[in-house]
Amino acid sequence: MLKETGVAEPRMIRSVFPDSRVLVKPKAIIECYEAIPCDPCETACPTGAIEVGADINARPVLDVDACTGCRRCVTACPGLAIFVVSIQEDKAVFTVPYEMLPLPEEGALVNVADRCGQPIGTGEVRKVRKHADRTASITFATDKGLLYEAVTVVVDDG
């Protein structure tokens, strides 16, 4: 149970993913499973693809067709609950928010971790973006079989 573990169950995770055929283009995946008073994802979205509505306690709803995968919501979400993903050939390419040090190097091979922080495979860091608001975003490519499991990278600080 999410409320006991802090980790979403596979069924819940699937419910926030669009059909994988749609993911030939990058799309936002919004892992906001709980009604909390918050709407910066909606405000940040330049195409109006994310709707929270007048009651900011409502969960955000994504219009997958309108989402361009621009990543603005990734760093705007105060809960760091949004990432962008696409499938490119046999790779799943993720852009995730990251607020730890050290940041990985672009091109580096890193461990990819699941929602419990456990390493589940490796990935290649394609892009590290530093933003003015100090939440970085990291784009990494990993095996497409990890589409529903991968959420972050593990960077050795040695």
Partner: protein, 103 residues
């Protein structure tokens, strides 16, 4: 114990400030509180409980709980968690409740 690198914050090295703690010369940085400077020097025990003399440390950081009371420049019951460190301060572990005259 000082944080030099942080993903969100910038902690620049600031000018060093010398003070004494129970007779030892220690160094803090400009902008430290007294308790913060002691912590940075690895001093976690700030006072002793009145009856059982158990060690007490930094607890609330808002000047509310009395766990960090020390004698500073002769003044007893200084809330070291909110009092800025100044050069040359004489900081002592306080014995008992402290008196207005500093003893």
């Amino acid at each position: 114990m000082r944080i030099r690198e942080h993903p969100i914050l910038r902690f620049k090295e600031r000018s060093k400030i010398a003070f004494t703690f129970d007779g030892r010369t220690l160094y803090g940085e400009a902008g430290d509180t007294i308790a913060g400077a002691l912590h940075a020097n690895g001093v976690k025990e700030l006072s002793r409980s009145l009856h059982l003399h158990r060690p007490r440390g930094f607890y609330c950081a808002i000047g509310n709980c009395a766990s960090c009371h020390m004698t500073v420049d002769g003044e007893a019951n200084v809330r070291t968690c909110i009092t800025p460190l100044k050069a040359g301060m004489v900081v002592k572990t306080q014995q008992g409740k402290g008196r207005v005259d500093g003893y």
